[in-house]
């Protein structure tokens, strides 16, 4: 879905406006971005889920933890025996599915944000150090990253979560550790591409210290691939955290985390398929939206990355 507008990528400047001034980078970005219908759709879905997450306390019809003993395994409203008070049905101990999903959105968005922030911060730091100082620093950091990359990501996350002990916080830590190498490698590659360009040499000659060079001169020019990776990182984080929850190594049962919800109602798969269907759809839609957005960002932000 990326290559569609390689043909019409050139006329980025609207024709009649003054030839002298190129459009603001953001305008140009938006021009490319909005041509990708999938990415726009992804953005809308993410915005919706974010709104649901923020206002879960207001819009959820029930408390996610209250057990309605007289409404155990109520089917969704359009099936026989369904009721409008539990639109998507209830689970095996009578909790409202819709409310739990809404609070689950809150958890998933939080997981995504925390994991991406943590791994981006650490990976960015390591990548900058490796790219700037080169030599032994570079070799040590990148070798360590290679070792982490050699392990299949879910395996590593499972092991880290098993050792830290099950729980949402530990699961987030485990997922963060796993994705650090991606950011470190991207940052290092971007830094290496930039660091010998004239503008960097110029500011070095002008007396800029290493910190200024790293953070203010070079970093802004390395951001495009990192933004794309961070967006895609949201989907990996949500997916892996849900997988850990499913394996019993992530968030623990009363928590309405989507993966955990799925795992805790497995034995009702046949009798009440909806308790398993909804959390899965929620995960799929969220992850898909982030992947669509990431693809769109890649195409719009960096023509070189266009595939």
């Amino acid at each position: 879905m990326s290559a569609e507008f390689s043909t019409n990528a050139e006329p980025a400047t609207p024709e009649p406006i003054a030839v002298s001034r190129p459009p603001h980078p953001l305008t140009e970005f938006w021009y490319h971005f909005r041509q990708n219908k999938g990415a726009l759709g992804g953005l809308v879905v993410i915005a919706l889920i974010a709104l649901i997450a923020i206002f879960a306390g207001v819009i959820a019809p029930h408390d996610p933890d209250i057990q309605y003993r007289d409404a155990i395994l109520t089917p969704p409203v359009w099936q026989d025996g369904g009721s409008w008070s539990y639109i998507l049905g209830t689970d095996d101990i009578g909790r409202d599915m819709l409310s739990r999903l809404m609070y689950g959105a809150r958890l998933s968005m939080m997981i995504g944000m925390i994991v991406v922030t943590l791994s981006l911060a650490v990976g960015l730091g390591l990548g900058l150090l490796a790219g700037f100082f080169g030599g032994m620093t570079d070799v040590l950091i990148m070798r360590a990253m290679d070792i982490l990359l050699a392990l299949p990501s879910l395996l590593l996350a499972v092991v880290v979560a098993a050792i830290l002990g099950p729980g949402l916080v530990n699961a987030m830590l485990a997922v963060s550790v796993v994705v650090i190498p991606h950011y470190a490698r991207l940052t290092r590659a971007a830094v290496l591409a930039e660091v010998n360009k004239d503008y960097v040499v110029a500011s070095r000659v002008a007396g800029a210290g290493p910190l200024r060079l790293m953070l203010i001169v070079v970093l802004p020019n390395c951001l495009a691939p990192l933004i794309v990776q961070a967006t895609l990182g949201f989907s990996t984080a949500i997916l892996d955290a849900a997988a850990l929850g499913f394996l019993g190594l992530g968030a623990q049962p009363p928590t309405p985390e989507w993966g955990t919800m799925l795992a805790s109602s497995l034995q009702f798969l046949q009798r009440a398929p909806w308790v398993v269907t909804w959390p899965g759809i929620a995960i799929l839609v969220t992850v898909l939206a982030f992947n669509l957005l990431g693809d769109g960002l890649r195409d719009a932000l960096d023509p070189k990355l266009k595939r």
Binding site: L154, L155, F246, V287
Partner: protein, 336 residues
């Protein structure tokens, strides 16, 4: 050529040592003394504790313990399982063929479906088929596969009764493991009923494990084909009047395959580790399920050895792919 292979192999050694170190340190991070964990609530006399610690080498400095560990591993001693008291290596080796069989089938499935889908999507670029393939592959890529597996079980096993729900073989059959690959073993003894049962058990896990690689292969093939189709030599081939099929099959596909083959190779490694979820859902008796069970039973030696062994096999597969790739593509071999 030999030089190329040796460089690749030598690059693997630090990675292997690093992973050994990682598993060694990770297990140290588990709260509680390994001996006290084993004795449980009964408690243990301080003298006996010191004696045991000395026996197990836990009173030596950490670097010494690490060297001991590496020495043991290099001798093939991955420790004993706390629960079964079997050698971790032996347990791993009995289960590994099941995982390998599943991973290979999944890769085969992903390649057989993903490659043609990607090629067709590129050739019919912008068509409904193209959009369909790309949409589906992005969906597959975003799929929580544990949920996907449950849906398939619900539909095909429970609903339609077409496929068995779990395991590798119906209990009525018994096949003496020779290769460990159920499909080959059943054929070797000539038990076709058992072969069909084994095949039936493989279908759903293969689809579930193969979904993500399928999406990756289809996307990769499409973009590689698109790139190649824009090249000058394709225009030349068309200009001299070659038939479409020949241009695409002979001129374009061969060049487009180079990145695709790499991706396929790298996915095999990922699949070996990624089988954790699939094996758990389908009760597939492989190393992934065994690892999760070890975690639940707090069998740390098994976990430690298992992770190291899986990681080692992934590294070896990737090394093999790397070397094969160099053999196939001289440009890689001679690049510095």
């Amino acid at each position: 050529m030999l030089r190329f292979i040796l460089t690749r192999v030598s690059l693997v050694i630090p990675t292997f040592l690093g992973i050994t170190f990682l598993t060694f340190i990770l297990i140290r991070l588990v709260p509680g003394d390994p001996i006290e964990v084993r004795t449980g609530e009964r408690g243990i006399a301080p003298e006996r504790l010191a004696e045991l610690r000395h026996e197990m080498g836990l009173d030596r400095p950490l670097w010494h313990q690490f060297l001991d560990y590496v020495g043991n591993v290099l001798h093939g001693d991955f420790g004993l399982s706390l629960i079964t008291h079997n050698s971790v290596l032996r347990e791993f080796l009995t289960l590994f063929p099941a995982t390998l069989e599943l991973a290979l089938c999944a890769m085969l499935f992903a390649t057989l479906v993903g490659l043609p889908a990607g090629i067709l999507a590129a050739v019919k670029r912008g068509s409904l088929f193209d959009h369909g393939v790309m949409g589906l592959s992005l969906t597959g890529y975003s799929m929580p596969i544990f949920w996907w597996g449950l849906l398939l079980i619900l539909f095909f096993s429970v609903g339609l009764g077409w496929t068995p729900v779990s395991g590798r073989l119906d209990l009525v059959y018994y096949v003496e493991p020779a290769t460990g690959f159920m499909l080959i073993d059943t054929l070797m003894v000539g038990d076709y009923e058992a072969f069909r049962s084994a095949l039936g058990h493989l279908v759903l896990p293969t689809i579930v494990l193969g979904t993500v690689p399928l999406a990756v292969v289809a996307r990769m093939t499409r973009s590689a084909m698109l790139e190649v189709l824009g090249e000058d030599y394709i225009r030349t081939a068309r200009a001299k009047g070659l038939a479409d099929g020949r241009v695409i099959g002979m001129h374009a596909l061969r060049n487009a395959l180079i990145p695709v083959v790499t991706v396929i190779g790298l996915q095999v490694g990922t699949l070996l580790g990624g089988a954790i979820l699939t094996e758990t859902i389908f009760s597939w008796p492989g190393v992934g399920k065994w690892l999760i069970e070890s975690i639940n039973r707090r069998d740390y030696p098994a976990l430690q050895g298992g992770v190291l062994l899986i990681a080692t096999s992934v590294i070896l597969v990737n090394l093999l792919v790397d070397v094969l790739y160099g053999v196939l593509n001289p440009r890689i071999r001679h690049a510095r």
